[in-house]
Symmetry: C2
Subunit: 498 residues, 2 copies
């Protein structure tokens, strides 16, 4: 057997395990009855163990190392496959198995403790776990590359090619340009009042409208599913099976609509990947940031636009004639773009959102590079919240304890959220040169936009790096100026002009 | 490691693979998008292959053989576990792997060909496949036990302890007692007319009523799911995760109701198995026949009773006030028990149903024991249909081609359907001595019936054989006289008395 055949053989087996584990995960998150979890966890840990063995098999490692040696014999796509596989392998192969198992138990436990701490508003309860997790991460970074700048290792895990240097420049721009602009807008948005948002919207009719939207966005039901879950998410195993969920709040209509649109952005990306990539490890989006650029684009740029609601508000009103009798498309669009200072990231509007990420980025960077300790986190968090959003945090559940990520060891993940929005803006200006976005939306022809994304971004899966995609599509590397421009144009129009 | 520990270790791993394969199967049958199937099939065949290797591992076989040698060291439950495992092992271990793989491809293909043949009404198209399947089955029976009466091997696979001798006696009773009785009833039932059955019943309201029924039967949603599928089925991996589906026909209301009740019978059984058995291979029903006795009991004895509809018809009428405005509980009960001669087994009523099984039993027995050939099947089928149900079959889709079972090699399965109904009747008389079934239904307290089933049948899982269960519950072995008595009592009252 050639090294290439050995490599592909292992990859295929790994993909089989990934498929069944993914199906079990989909079931757990959307359908499994509550009491089925303990048995299922025990059984799935056996299957995960087999998967881990396949991923770290010495024969597999040998094949990858050999292919690296003879890389001139590989074509571009083959090399990219091996490169991605090597990166995944390097992440786990140097970690002693005992430490890996220990860490997996620690994070399972830490998530439960975090939930309790958040509920009680008691950061002290969570602190010892957070300290252990951070120590573990620091140790693992050393194992993997003891010459690297520590936080860079984590940043690159979530977004290939990103570094502190690049993120610092990005967030400095946000601080300089956005923080004062947000203050201007907030002074105006205080007067917003949308009483229709407080009315009751039955779930059954909301579901019907989500179906409507899914069709408007041209999602392919022959290769997908739309369902409900507590936390909305997109799930995919290959281009022929892409699923998304939304959540329904009867007392807050926008929740189901914009969560569905957000996930539709992720889902269209995955459905439009070239299906010949399904037999490789390249059959998923290029990176967290590029993925998030698509979800933000579909949600914010398309979904919250005046053009969208001029075209589809009547379909919404048909389902809620009583609740929306005194509302028009313009009011609904304004309500969908309301700016407010808020404590909670996941509830933040498009304009203040990056400031929430800024806080998390600076804290994570200082933990890993500058010795910021867990005992100082709450104080630092609250100071930044005051500086950037002018808010006084009164309880840690509204501050340092609000996100699940750290309890699962996901440091380096947050910045990709803001990066995704910024990518979306940069792509927006390129796309608008290629076709009239506003007109496509008004023609109820989102398929036109989908097609452009398919040809320029989606079809490649992860054959190209985030940088390569941006350069191909926008003819330059990542440049935060477009993001600032997009936000200022949009929110000046909504709030600062008369 | 002791033999016992080795045995349990393999069993646990096998159960892990069975869980993920079962979850994938649930997904395929209820949710997976159409185009996801080819990729999924390829990936799942890898996982199934791993499962097969675990089931036929020489170390596993060695442990089982050793435990058989030292069986005096095992307690009753341990011995039962080993006995069941050995039976599964013997079924596959002697079959050369190449033949096994070949056969699995053959039946996959044959099912597609059967579908086509059924659609075109062309038995010739399916014949060559059916011949190959039967030849394979005959060869496999020889591999497994070349001294056994061939059809007995298949009968025992689906119902431990059943033989031609016992089934012949059972079906002879049906021929002698039931065939003439059915003719008497059919002469009367010709005058039945229930025009309300032809009205339109929206799916959404039917779903609501199925929810209502599921609660009436006391199904535990913390350990279960109710969903929709084309062919209703029950699915379970352990007592804490039991799921059922029903199907909705807007032009035939009884379909969703009685399919749900039938599956609820299977589901209550699985939910009420002692959960300490979940770590063993005994955590599922005792046999096909005992399982079917429960589904038939819940569907026919409880669900189609006057007591049930006296208690719950108002709840049904509330959901369909227009469609049922001229119907009362008695009429609905009569319509639910309408007797008709019909070509199709799955649409047959409770009284004529066993005659459909009789035909299949006699044919299968004669194929495996008496040299009946595939070329004669259609003629023989049609002759029997005439003799037992007085119907002239005009197209094979209404006759020999109607069932999927043979295309999947499932010979020996059909008789358990009739056996299950007969078990249900025998159990019915025993249960009625222990508590007043009619009163429990009228008190809307089916939990009382559930509890009796739990204590006397369900909790044991497959720790006891079907014979042991019947003897425990009814103080005798299987005796078809109860079935005849039950049917004659019920249908005399409905049709032959004034």
């Amino acid at each position: 057997m050639s090294h290439w055949d050995t490599f592909k053989d292992f990859q295929k087996k790994q993909k089989a395990y990934e498929l069944v584990l993914a199906l079990a995960g989909w079931d757990s998150n959307t359908e499994a009855p509550r009491q089925s979890i303990p048995y299922r966890s025990e059984m799935l840990s056996i299957i995960s163990g087999e998967h881990f063995s396949l991923m770290t098999d010495p024969q597999y490692k040998e094949a990858i190392d050999a292919l690296y040696e003879e890389k001139e014999t590989l074509n571009d796509q083959q090399f990219r496959e091996v490169q991605k596989a090597k990166k995944s392998l390097d992440k786990i192969i140097k970690i002693p198995k005992a430490e890996y198992v220990e860490y997996s138990k620690l994070t399972t436990m830490a998530q439960r403790i975090w939930e309790e701490a958040k509920e009680k508003g008691d950061f002290k309860h969570f602190k010892p776990y957070l300290k252990k997790i951070i120590n573990y991460k620091k140790r693992m970074i050393k194992f993997r590359d003891d010459k690297a700048i520590p936080y860079n290792v984590l940043l690159d895990d979530f977004e290939e090619g990103m570094t502190i240097e690049r993120y610092d420049a990005f967030f400095q721009t946000i601080k300089d340009e956005l923080v004062p602009f947000v203050k201007q807008v907030l002074a105006k948005s205080k007067n917003d009042d949308f009483p229709f948002l407080d009315r009751k919207y039955p779930k059954h009719d909301q579901k019907d409208f989500v179906d409507y939207i899914t069709n408007v966005f041209d999602f392919d039901f022959n290769r997908g599913v739309v369902k409900e879950s507590v936390h909305p998410f997109t799930w995919n195993t290959h281009s022929q099976d892409v699923r998304l969920t939304t959540r329904y709040m009867e007392d807050y209509l926008p929740a189901s609509i914009y969560a569905a649109m957000h996930e539709l952005g992720h889902a269209m990306y995955e459905q439009q990947i070239d299906e010949t990539l399904d037999s490789t490890n390249l059959n998923t989006g290029a990176s967290m940031g590029i993925h998030e650029s698509q979800s933000r684009f579909y949600e914010n740029t398309i979904g919250r636009s005046q053009a969208f609601w001029d075209t589809h508000f009547s379909a919404l009103k048909k389902r809620f004639p009583d609740q929306l009798h005194d509302v028009d498309a313009e009011t609904f669009t304004r309500a969908s773009n309301r700016v407010e200072e808020s404590f909670i990231r996941v509830e933040a509007d498009e304009l203040t959102y990056p400031l929430h990420i800024l806080i998390r980025y600076e804290i994570e960077r200082d933990i890993f590079n500058n010795g910021l300790g867990v005992d100082d986190l709450e104080r630092v968090w609250n100071e930044k919240m005051k500086a950037y959003l002018n808010l006084d945090v009164n309880r840690p559940s509204d501050g340092v304890l609000q996100d699940v990520h750290w309890s699962d060891g996901m440091f380096g993940y947050f910045p990709t959220y803001a990066l995704g929005s910024a990518y979306a803006a940069q792509i927006y200006y390129a796309l608008n040169e290629a076709l009239d976005i506003d007109q496509a939306i008004r023609d109820n022809d989102i398929a036109r936009i989908n097609q452009w994304f398919k040809e320029n971004i989606h079809c490649y899966g992860s054959r190209l790096s985030p940088d390569q995609i941006l350069n191909k599509v926008t003819r330059e590397s990542f440049n935060p100026k477009y993001y600032i421009r997009y936000l200022k144009e949009k929110y000046s129009k909504l709030y600062l002009e008369d």
